[in-house]
């Protein structure tokens, strides 16, 4: 009986020839990622001291101060300062700050290699599955265990195969695919499981699109989301100067808990309504919802391709009066490339406010919180009650293109209607 990609990676990680879903295995971790909000400050620094203050392999650890940068107040500034100093004291040279959301930083800086097992103190750590890695979010105490031992226990997940075929219709983006999958499976339809993305539509996707889809796997409850490591992945890693890993795909006779197949032609621009990510409908059904804030950014929807699609759409148009369009590129590198290519300029000319690369607005801790009764349409990953600020606010999740169209019309808008 064959194995899925996820099973192959975990088998290697635990030193066995094969593993089966449901098995509990102890795996060696190839990379550990911490951020500022849930990194050393929560349970880790103090307890590691008691345990001898020594890290199994500092070279495999990455720390990114991203949630509280730039800090909104002195409390946040102290957390960033603490994180920076802790990284230095523990010899962690892969420390980044003010550079953007951790998951984009990990990918851009060669901290993810196909076939790796990577854990991080952020639930969207599942993003690295776009590069054919097994990656998943863990809590701070669990990270403490990893920092001390370099190992973690994992229950080998069953895999759900998502097969997507054909060409995208106009104005449909990867975010719409992610919302479609979550809407179909439900927000805990993949709990404890792996989501594996196959089929020619996924094969043709550029890395920015794959990252968006893998990022959202956890919104269906999944442990990880994963794409095969194909020629395209290899080209991407070579192009950014960090080639590593080798071809990896599931065996033909691998066993899946479920296979979900659909055709790209059926896709439409979608929207997740408050306050759950699986509360999905076509955005064209929501054109009576007026918008106060439109947000393009985050580890889900702030990459180069996202900003370019939004800018191409907004060229020569203006954001509606009374609407604020905020744009936070997913990293300093994305920021720089978009600036160089005139994308930021186009966005600003349309009336967008271009912000620093940060997690801030996505979880309402700075740079774009919403007030009571306000509606935000956002290219981010969660629309939970109170997430972006007031618990009386409403968050609708959509693609960067749909966010741009909604900003122009001042209400939720299907980009094909303009």
């Amino acid at each position: 009986m064959g194995m899925t990609m996820t099973e192959k990676i975990l088998a290697r990680g635990c030193g066995q020839k094969s593993v089966r879903p449901g098995e509990i295995v102890w795996c060696k971790v190839d990379g550990a990622m911490m951020d500022d909000i849930l990194g050393p400050r929560v349970e880790i620094a103090e307890k590691l001291k008691v345990l001898g203050d020594s890290i199994w392999d500092a070279g495999r650890v990455t720390i990114v101060s991203d949630h509280y940068t730039p800090p909104a107040n002195s409390k946040q500034a102290e957390i960033v300062k603490f994180t920076r100093e802790w990284a230095r004291q523990h010899g962690i040279s892969n420390y980044f700050e003010f550079a953007g959301p951790c998951h984009q930083i990990m990918v851009e800086n060669g901290r993810v290699c196909p076939g790796d097992i990577i854990v991080g103190t952020d639930s969207h750590t599942c993003t690295y599955g776009a590069l054919g890695a097994f990656s998943t979010g863990i809590g701070s105490t669990e990270m403490l265990g990893v920092l001390v031992t370099g190992e973690i226990w994992l229950r080998v997940p069953e895999s759900i195969r998502i097969v997507l075929r054909g060409e995208f219709p106009e104005s449909v983006m990867a975010k719409d695919v992610a919302l479609k999958v979550i809407g179909m499976l439900g927000h805990h339809g993949a709990t404890y499981k792996a989501l594996e993305f196959t089929g020619d539509t996924f094969e043709k996707m550029i890395m920015d699109e794959r990252l968006c889809i893998a990022n959202m796997a956890v919104e269906a409850g999944a442990k990880n989301g994963i794409f095969p490591f194909d020629e395209f992945t290899g080209d991407f890693l070579r192009a950014q100067g960090t080639p590593c890993g080798e071809a990896l795909a599931s065996d033909e006779d691998a066993v899946y808990a479920q296979t979900v197949e659909f055709e790209s032609e059926q896709l439409e621009p979608l929207c997740a309504c408050p306050h759950e990510v699986d509360n999905v409908t076509e955005i064209k059904n929501l054109d009576n919802v007026t918008v106060d804030q439109a947000y393009i950014g985050s580890c889900t929807g702030g990459r180069y391709h996202d900003l370019k699609m939004a800018a191409d759409f907004l060229k020569g148009k203006k954001v509606a009066r009374g609407v604020r369009l905020l744009v936070s590129p997913a990293s300093a590198q994305v920021w720089g490339q978009c600036a160089k290519d005139g994308i930021l300029n186009t966005l600003a000319e349309a009336g967008a406010v271009v912000l620093a690369s940060s997690c801030g607005a996505c979880l309402g801790v700075h740079s774009g919180a919403i007030g009571s009764g306000e509606v935000c349409v956002s290219s981010t990953n969660r629309n939970f009650i109170g997430r972006m600020g007031s618990k009386e606010g409403q968050i609708y999740l959509a693609s960067p293109l749909s966010v741009a169209a909604s900003a122009v019309m001042g209400k939720l808008t299907d980009p094909r209607m303009i």
Binding site: I24, W26, I37, L38, V42, E43, K47, V50, L51, G52, Y68, N73, K75, Q76, I79, G120, T121, D122, S123, T125, G137, I138, G139, S140, T141, E142, L144, G145, V148, T149, E151, W153, H187, H188, T191, Y192, G221, K223, E276, L363, G364, V365, A369, R382, F384, I385, G386, R387, G389, K391
Partner: protein, 175 residues
């Protein structure tokens, strides 16, 4: 809450489906130390939660408890308020692991919809039986998986790491 040979008794604070981590630990208070942040636990849907909580209370929810973030501040806030046991129909996996790692018992029971706010219940997690003393009903609950029993009985992951450290010969590499 009383503990005697795998039996816990306590008063239930009962909520519904999809009590996510943004509800249990709202992001805008995460910059505060946990002792202060705990006062805002559950505040998006129940601003009185922290003031109602008494040490030993049992936190009860229905489907998909703890979905969303990996933030350990969610179970930490519950622990800070004196909760040592949570009961739900199903859990989001990171929240489940975080509870166990912090020494909070997370138990699955498919009938939590029958439990009302402030019901007094008794959980025999070894036998897998819950007795609702308020309604005189009994429910089945899932026994804790074997690989987790050791962790919870020791009081969580940190206690296990301490024990491992004391074994200087390193023979027990897997915690």
């Amino acid at each position: 809450m009383e503990k005697e040979s795998g039996v816990y008794r306590g008063r239930c604070l009962k909520y519904g489906d999809n009590i996510n981590t943004d509800i249990i630990s709202p992001p805008m208070y995460m910059e505060l130390p946990i002792e202060q942040a705990a006062a805002y636990a559950m505040s998006p849907i129940d601003p009185e939660f922290a003031s109602k909580c008494r040490p030993g209370d049992i936190f009860v929810a229905e489907e998909n408890l703890g979905s969303g973030s990996s933030r350990e501040t969610a179970p930490l806030a519950l622990k800070e308020l004196g909760i040592r046991i949570v009961l739900a129909k199903s859990y989001a996996r990171i929240f489940y692991r975080n509870c166990i790692n912090l020494g909070i018992l997370a138990i699955e029971c498919s009938q939590t919809d029958k439990i009302a706010y402030f019901d007094e219940i008794e959980i025999d997690y070894k036998k897998g039986v819950i007795t609702n003393r308020s309604s005189q009903e009994t429910y089945r609950c899932q026994a804790i998986p074997n690989h987790i029993v050791g962790l919870t009985e020791k009081g969580g992951l940190f206690a296990c790491l301490m024990e491992r450290r004391e074994k200087v010969d390193g023979s027990d590499i897997h915690l």
